[in-house]
């Protein structure tokens, strides 16, 4: 056996270590990687809401992070659905994230084929004007000798996202205007 100098011995040791690293006796980087990824809904702001689709009225939790809805799920504390959701309610996140979402009121003038963006004040004013005009034109005080005080020219359609109190208010307003066609989306 030849004599090894200190320098030669170090070189040999280095080569051995390098070889062992090559043949996969190193540490496992996967674990470290997994721990560095943050949980999707960590530090998200959670807001409870009611599903707008059907009359069941399931509770939903909306997770917001950095101004974006990152996840929606059934509210486990809600007595109606207890954390579960149907596929439609599960897709509620897209109400906010979808590219097709309409963010401002749109107006299509009579006879026009184009929708134009309008502001809320204008839209609400226009609705109020038309309601008043239509009601005044079509209001019937008496019919076949009976006092009816109604209009059959306007109809109202409620939605499932309305709660008891809101529905009560709408009912009051519409009856006050003399409407008889008062319906609800969740009954259709």
């Amino acid at each position: 056996m030849m004599e090894l100098s200190r320098r030669q011995f170090l070189k040999l040791s280095g080569a051995t270590a390098a070889t062992l690293a090559v043949v996969e006796l190193g540490f496992d980087p996967k674990k470290a990687q997994a721990e560095s990824n943050e949980f999707k809904i960590a530090h998200s702001e959670v807001t409870p809401t009611i599903c707008p689709y059907c009359s069941v009225g399931c509770g939903i939790l909306v997770h917001v992070k950095d101004g974006d809805v990152v996840y929606t799920e059934g509210d486990p504390d809600h007595p109606i659905n207890r954390g579960t959701l149907c596929p439609k309610g599960n897709g509620i996140r897209q109400l906010y994230t979808s590219e097709k979402r309409v963010e401002r009121p749109k107006y299509r003038a009579p006879g026009s084929t184009e929708w134009e963006e309008v502001d809320w004040d204008w839209a609400l004013g226009r609705i109020a004007e038309n309601v008043k005009k239509t009601r005044d034109e079509s209001f019937v005080v008496e019919e076949d000798g009976m006092t009816v005080n109604h209009t059959e020219a306007i109809a109202n359609l409620g939605g499932a996202a309305l709660e008891n109190e809101e529905v009560y208010m709408i009912q009051k307003l519409m009856r006050g205007l003399g409407l008889t066609y008062i319906e609800h989306q969740a009954r259709i």
Binding site: Y71, G83, L85, C86, G89
Partner: protein, 277 residues
């Protein structure tokens, strides 16, 4: 060690597809449009971007009646997974909650797992690299391992309105499956538990209303023999040989350089000296 399982009792499933949407929602999976197949089913089978698909089978009963057979289909998380065996990158491993995981960083998109999956579940999906190139890698259900680590249930389990999908400790789930089977047998005489032993049992297992073949499931799925040969015999042997060879080559190289230095000097090989400085 405690191991966990997802039990899918298809006999109470109404085919509402909430599990499909919840999966897309949690995992931020994109829309995947497919051509209309002529039935009520949305997608043909799970893909790299649609990790679970509700199968809807039209079935004629023994007395000539009609019934729907619904089935939540996703990765079965085999205890003895063929994909884990064939992956040349070692990117597929077993998670602490019984899942079979694909390490997205390590996957090179070779599709060995795609061809060897006995259930035809795992598929490749496109992704965009940091450089903007479009590449492919294998993707499938992760059993929501990130949620499990935080003490939550998988999103399909959480959302199921009928408790058709349940997750928990394997022993409990096996017990629950027996109870569910008893109930199912009142309506479906052929009802049975589908937990195929050919793949070591699956961590996602069914209570089926009829024979597996009626659902289009393999009766006795097995890990391909070639996969067993590759992973359990050829690969360890190859690794050992590779190690020995590398050691031999490197040691030989270094000793050769060290002890033959004199000769190099005689030949005037100053270049080697500077390299090893």
């Amino acid at each position: 060690m405690t191991t966990y399982s997802k039990l899918v009792d298809v006999t109470v499933c109404t085919g509402c597809r909430a599990c499909m949407v919840a999966c897309k929602n949690w995992n931020d999976l994109p829309v995947e449009t497919q051509a209309y197949s002529g039935g009520y089913q949305s997608h043909e089978k799970p893909t790299g971007k649609t990790w679970n698909v509700l199968q809807m089978k039209e079935h004629e009963t023994a007395n000539g009646g009609f019934e729907w057979l619904y089935r939540h289909s996703a990765c079965y998380h085999c205890a003895d997974a063929a994909c884990e065996k064939v992956c040349p990158e070692g990117a597929i491993t077993y998670g602490e909650f019984g899942s079979v995981d694909i390490d997205q960083e390590a996957c090179v998109g070779c599709s060995y797992c795609v061809y060897n999956c006995p259930f035809d579940i795992v598929e490749l999906a496109d992704y965009v690299t940091e450089d903007g190139d479009v590449r492919q890698r294998a993707q499938k259900c992760t059993l929501c391992e990130d949620r499990l680590q935080e003490g939550l249930q998988p999103s399909c389990v959480d959302t199921c309105p009928l408790d058709a999908i349940v997750f928990g400790e394997r022993e409990e789930m096996l017990k629950l499956a027996e109870e569910r089977l008893e109930k199912a047998k009142q309506f479906f005489p052929n009802a049975q538990i589908y937990n195929p032993p050919g793949v070591g049992g699956t961590k996602m297992f069914y209570v089926l209303a009829d024979k597996p073949s009626v659902y289009g499931l393999p009766e006795n799925p097995e890990v391909p023999t070639s996969a067993v040969l590759w992973k359990d015999i050829a690969q360890p042997a190859g690794k050992a040989l590779l190690g020995v060879t590398m050691m031999g080559v490197l040691t030989g190289y270094v000793t050769n350089k060290l002890f033959n230095k004199g000769e190099h000097h005689e030949e005037g090989g100053e270049v080697d000296e500077s390299k090893h400085g």
